[in-house]
């Protein structure tokens, strides 16, 4: 089915209806919350960062299928990656959702499914919200009481 079926393709439906990594990390070192005032979506992203590596990511969301799928795919994609890799992934997804060429031109894997939002400009914000929140979580000072309280700085 052309058109909207391209946005709601299998991977988006699957992650949107049965999202992975939902909930909180008891051991989160970083967290941030984000809102999309246009539609009322709200997301909280939590990360466990050890040194330069994101060990785990979880999220809680009140939002649409596209935002939920984006958050689920994101938390799967960033686990085990370095901060620099996560940042590069963030930039690549942001470019793809906006219909710009990807920096680096790499293969996004399952995240490529998010590219269909470029045909629905009003929905691009939905896909971008979890990623923007992830970026802010990484920039934020480590959570008080978190096990890893080293100042978070990206050398890249």
């Amino acid at each position: 089915m052309p058109g909207v079926g391209d946005l709601y393709r299998a991977v988006i439906l699957e992650h949107g209806k049965a999202p992975r990594n939902v909930g909180r990390l008891g051991t989160a070192t970083h967290a941030a919350e984000g809102d999309n005032p246009l539609c009322g979506d709200h997301v909280r992203v939590e990360l466990l960062v050890e040194g330069e590596r994101v060990r785990a990511a979880r999220f809680e969301i009140t939002g649409c299928l596209v935002a939920t799928a984006s958050a689920s795919l994101m938390t799967e994609a960033v686990g085990g990656r370095s901060r620099a890799e996560v940042r590069a992934l963030h930039d690549a997804v942001a470019a793809t959702c906006a219909g710009r060429p990807q920096p680096g031109g790499g293969d996004l894997g399952a995240l490529a499914a998010l590219a269909a939002v470029r045909d629905y400009p009003s929905r691009a914000r939905c896909a971008a919200l979890p990623w923007e929140t992830l970026a802010r979580a990484l920039e934020a000072a480590p959570e008080a009481g978190a096990p890893d309280r080293k100042p978070a700085r990206d050398p890249a």
Partner: protein
């Protein structure tokens, strides 16, 4: 002051041919995503008939000049057209005099004007402003801000589980310190029609004035009569009554406007500027600082020329579409129609397990334009326990065929995403 003759009684609503109406709207002839556009987002803004587009073009092509300034021919024509537009709005709203109409940027600015001019000059700490729980943010936030500025308290009259105003709760919200009441004439999110005349009577009995927000109502209740409503202020927007964006109107009772201080200051709103003193212009110009939206006011008047003869039939036609849509949507498994049983121009609904924005995207793909989300009424959505809703809203150019397309597309959204 230009006294207006009383309005003739509205003729009985003749049946309306939506296809004939439709042909007057160029924007409706297009296809989106390869399919015919079904524009069901009229509560957000209406499309514009050719008569309005022509009025705008003709004004700019022939009469363009600033108003109330130039001694030249074009200035005189522009001023005459702008003041004729004011008289047109006065007639449409049933005002006693054209001087009771202030042109604003829209309904939002009209409400802010009342809050900042009337409200700030009248309210003292401990006084009360009453709104309802169904208000659009534009008829809530100006009052919250006013209360912060003056130390007055905001009281919210409750609604029931269907979003209908609780009249007993409204009466309880009114008190001896109530100075001002602000209510939607028709609530934008659910289409509830408020009994403004009754609410005004109760407010007046306590010495308060009442502002009715007519942003949605103006085009959809078959005609507005501010004197029959008994309201003291009435706010509306041109773009929701088939006119251009960028202009709206505030009706204010003459004696209230006369006593109100300026809000914004600048050119046009002043008579004499001495070195140390200023004489403000009388209303309505006192409230129109700067060059007003002249061409848009002319277009606004053209829209009312177009709408007024049609208004009773349009309201009846919209009522038929609303009834059809509410029944057909309620019959789709997993769809819940929300809001009052008696709705004006609007049907709001939710689909089990599918976020309103996802529903709206599937509808957009089928060429059906609707609004989805909190409808700028977050307190109401919280009250009703909704994560937002999908809203279809109707105009005289909509057809029952478009209602069927809406219902089919909602079924598809449910099948695809539910």
């Amino acid at each position: 002051m230009h006294p207006l003759s009383p309005r003739p009684a509205a003729p009985p609503a003749a049946a309306l041919d939506p296809r004939a109406v439709r042909r007057q709207f160029p924007a409706l002839a297009q296809r989106v995503r390869g399919v015919r556009l079904a524009y069901l987002d009229n509560a957000a803004t209406t499309q514009k008939p050719r008569a309005v587009l022509r009025a705008l073009t003709a004004h700019y092509a022939r009469d363009n000049a600033n108003v109330h300034r130039g001694v030249h021919a074009l200035g005189a024509r522009a001023t005459a057209a702008y003041e004729a537009a004011r008289a047109r709005v006065a007639r449409f709203l049933g005002a006693a005099d054209a001087g009771e109409i202030v042109f604003t940027r829209g309904a939002t600015e009209a409400i802010n004007l009342v809050a900042q001019s009337y409200g700030r000059s009248v309210l003292a700490a401990g006084d009360e402003v009453v709104v309802t729980a169904m208000e659009h943010h534009s008829n809530l936030l100006p009052w919250r801000r006013l209360c912060e500025q003056t130390g007055a308290h905001l009281r919210v009259a409750p609604v029931d589980d269907r979003g209908v105003l609780d009249l007993a709760g409204y009466e309880r919200a009114l008190g001896t310190r109530t100075r001002l009441v602000a209510v939607a004439h028709v609530a934008n999110a659910l289409g509830a029609l408020n009994p403004v005349a009754e609410l005004a009577r109760l407010a007046h009995a306590r010495g308060a004035v009442l502002l009715a927000d007519g942003a949605l109502a103006a085009a959809h209740v078959g005609g507005v009569d501010v004197r029959a409503l008994g309201c003291d202020f009435y706010a509306c927007s041109s773009h929701k009554v088939y006119g251009p964006t960028g202009v709206g109107a505030l009706y204010g009772r003459a004696e209230l406007l006369r006593a109100m201080p300026p809000w914004q200051t600048g050119g046009e709103m002043v008579l004499a500027v001495g070195d140390d003193d200023v004489t403000w212009a009388p209303p309505p110009l006192r409230f129109e600082a700067g060059t007003p939206p002249i061409a848009d006011a002319v277009g606004f008047a053209a829209a009312l020329d177009w709408l007024e003869p049609l208004a009773p039939a349009a309201a009846a036609h919209e009522q038929a579409l609303v009834t059809h849509a509410a029944a057909a949507l309620a019959a789709v498994p997993g769809v819940r129609v929300v809001g009052p049983a008696a709705r004006v121009a609007v049907v709001s609904f939710v689909v089990d397990g599918v976020h309103p924005h996802d529903v709206a995207t599937v509808l957009d793909d089928a060429g059906v334009a609707v609004r989805a989300g909190d409808q700028c009424a977050q307190p109401l959505m919280r009250r009703l326990g909704l994560p937002g809703a999908v809203r279809a809203s109707f105009a005289p150019y909509n057809t029952s065929d478009e209602v069927e397309r809406l219902v089919a597309a909602v079924g598809r959204a449910r099948a695809l995403l539910g």
